[in-house]
């Protein structure tokens, strides 16, 4: 297990794109320490901010997090990264495989455009988790994103594929969703705004937009399969899916092939 230990709170945002077990496996500790990660004219390198201990395994631990650590695991395709602390924006952006775990909180755009692998955030996530960054075609795109705490607004904005599981979410969860599955025990106002297809499963929600219409309660095979797939990720969400649910169809302002399942009680 390779370990990068943050010496002190970084003086600026740090860009950890390409700091993955695979990328570090072919380098010596001195070479790794020289990798540029600074984002200002200070010109900081990895060794300026972290102590480096490598063992060439497929597992990397970042000890001591900061909300200024951007793009952690953004290029991950295999192996695991665990962060003992917080991270900044674009956690696991474009990640293709492997496992990424953050023990603290994550900044905005966690899992943006991630096509594979598992991202777990034990704390809260910022706005646009599983959402699309500026000018991107899609948000989460096949990966699995688990947020144990509370996600900000626009969770899963424009997500195209994959699964998002969140404890709570802010307003406009699943906005402009193209496809995929998003489950949250509670969301803010206007879940599913502009969604084209896809499935939202919510325990409770704020105001629902006027462009969603109730289609009743249903006993569908899909729901049983959903329960089974959610059970491994979060028993609470699986229990929600297994309970009595009411279905809303929408967003009728767009294609209207999306659905929101809410607890019927």
């Amino acid at each position: 297990m390779s370990v990068l230990t943050l010496r002190e709170a970084p003086p600026e945002r740090l860009d950890l794109l390409n700091i993955t077990p695979l990328a570090l496996s072919g380098l010596s500790e001195a070479e790794v320490a020289r990798l540029p990660i600074g984002t200002t004219r200070r010109g900081l390198s990895l060794g300026d901010c972290f102590t480096v201990k490598l063992d060439r395994s497929d597992s990397l631990v970042i000890e001591g997090g900061s909300e200024r650590l951007d793009q952690v695991g953004a290029a991950l395709s295999e192996g695991t990264i665990r962060v003992a602390g917080d991270v900044g924006q674009r956690l696991g952006e474009g990640m293709a495989g492997g496992s990424l775990t953050v023990e603290g909180a994550a900044g905005p755009f966690a899992g943006a455009g991630a096509t594979g692998g598992l991202i777990t955030i034990e704390g809260d996530a910022g706005d646009h988790a599983g959402g699309a960054v500026y000018a991107a075609k899609a948000g989460l795109d096949g990966a699995t994103l688990i947020i144990r705490g509370r996600a900000g607004d626009h969770l899963g904005d424009r997500m195209r594929r994959g699964v998002i599981v969140a404890g709570e979410a802010g307003a406009f969860a699943g906005s402009r969703m193209i496809a995929g599955t998003l489950a949250a025990l509670k969301t803010g106002d206007h879940p599913g705004f502009g969604m084209r297809r896809g499935t939202l499963l919510v325990g409770a929600h704020g105001a629902l937009g006027p462009t969603f219409v109730e289609t009743g309660t249903h006993d569908l095979v899909f729901l049983r399969l959903l329960v089974r797939s959610l059970r491994a990720l979060s028993p609470a969400h699986a229990d929600l899916a297994a309970g009595a649910l009411r279905r809303y169809s929408g967003d009728l302002a767009t294609l209207g092939k999306g659905e929101i399942w809410t607890a019927a009680a």
Binding site: R41, R176, P210, T211, D251, A253, G256
Partner: protein, 357 residues
């Protein structure tokens, strides 16, 4: 000409030297505002490149609401001149457009060219002030964001919702237009609302002609976006910290950078009137502001330099809202001693000299 350093009046050369020293000591400065003639904005971009600074504009909220939707779905746009000359149906969204100069002109006129020429112009609104000053047909706004009203209207326009309701009636009126225009303020409608509106307008164009007319407001963002694009290849929220222009609308939000303690100095450029951000006093800062503006005072920033106001005391290329393009506006009064571009260029020269020394 007026200049102040730490509250004391001084001459331009001293203020410029102090500004160069302040900015040279910073590691992550921000250059913000960019509410100025294009020569000054170009000089500010070059200065930011020299400093390794980030850039942000005064109207970024509206600019990125517009650009975000544009990058995703494209846009059906028209110009004020076309709207005034051709539109027989104008849909005004929200409250902000009612303060724009074009609204009275649209309300008073009628289409004079195109296929709607000679007909009456209907002014329709959602979420307007409803003060009765301008004759129009007002439709109720959904509670919550304006975007919800646009979505509700679009559901009726697509035929996904049916029945007799105000929005069903409004959708029929929009489809009956021969040349329709939806007028909105991008910051008020927001990215979600703009994207929904562009979808509605595309739906309407299946059977008729319909366009959108976003209003730019008092800032120069429309011009700055073009200048930034042809200078750096990117939209204006840029950072030069790594020597190349990086675009990141979240990271280079100047208010966020100051709030998070990431920025350690600021240069505020507003040779045209623009509200001074409340964060300017929280870090070492330089303000380059128009002569006679409320911000041309000693305590506006650590270093304040008053410069010519484009279109008044200096000439400059500015966004022309009426023509929807950049045009040159000559000075109408006595020329100022200093222009913003000159000041920024001299600060940059000093920084370059310091590097070379």
């Amino acid at each position: 000409m007026a200049a102040w350093v730490k509250g004391g009046a001084t001459d331009a050369e001293t203020a410029i030297a102090a500004a160069a020293t302040l900015l040279a000591a910073a590691r992550a400065p921000v250059v913000a505002g960019l509410c100025a003639e294009l020569a000054a904005v170009r000089a500010a971009i070059h200065l930011a490149g020299t400093l390794g600074a980030s850039l942000d504009t005064a109207g970024a909220a509206g600019t990125y609401a517009e650009l975000g939707a544009l990058s995703r779905t494209g846009a059906m746009l028209t110009t004020p001149a076309e709207a005034l000359g051709r539109a027989d149906t104008v849909l005004v969204l929200g409250a902000a457009p009612w303060d724009a100069p074009i609204l009275p002109a649209l309300a008073a006129g009628a289409p004079t060219r195109g296929r709607a020429a000679g007909t009456e112009r209907a002014l329709l609104s959602i979420g307007g002030p409803g003060n009765g000053a301008t004759r129009h047909v007002a439709y109720p706004q959904e509670s919550g964001a304006l975007a919800l009203s646009v979505a509700h209207l679009r559901a009726f326009a697509k035929g996904h919702l049916a029945g007799e309701s105000a929005y069903a009636d409004l959708a029929r009126r929009l489809f009956a237009a021969q040349y329709g225009v939806a007028v909105y303020d991008p910051a008020e409608l927001g990215e979600l609302g703009i994207e929904m509106l562009q979808g509605l307008v595309k739906d309407l164009n299946e059977t008729t002609r319909f366009f959108t007319l976003p209003l730019s407001g008092p800032n120069q963002d429309r011009a700055v976006v073009q200048l930034s694009a042809w200078t750096t290849g990117q939209a204006p929220r840029l950072g030069f910290g790594r020597g190349l222009p990086e675009h990141d609308p979240w990271r280079f939000d100047s208010a966020r950078q100051v709030r998070a303690g990431e920025a350690d100095a600021a240069l505020w450029l507003a040779s045209l009137p623009s509200p001074r951000p409340d964060w300017l006093g929280r870090l070492p800062s330089v303000a380059i502001v128009g002569e006679g503006s409320p911000d041309a005072v000693a305590d506006a920033a650590e270093i304040v330099i008053a410069v010519g106001v484009p279109g008044e005391s200096t000439g400059g290329a500015l966004w022309n809202e009426g023509r929807a393009t950049v045009t040159y506006q000559p000075a109408t009064g006595a020329p100022a001693e200093l222009t913003a571009a000159d000041v920024l260029g001299r600060i940059r020269d000093r920084l370059t000299d310091q590097k070379g020394a």
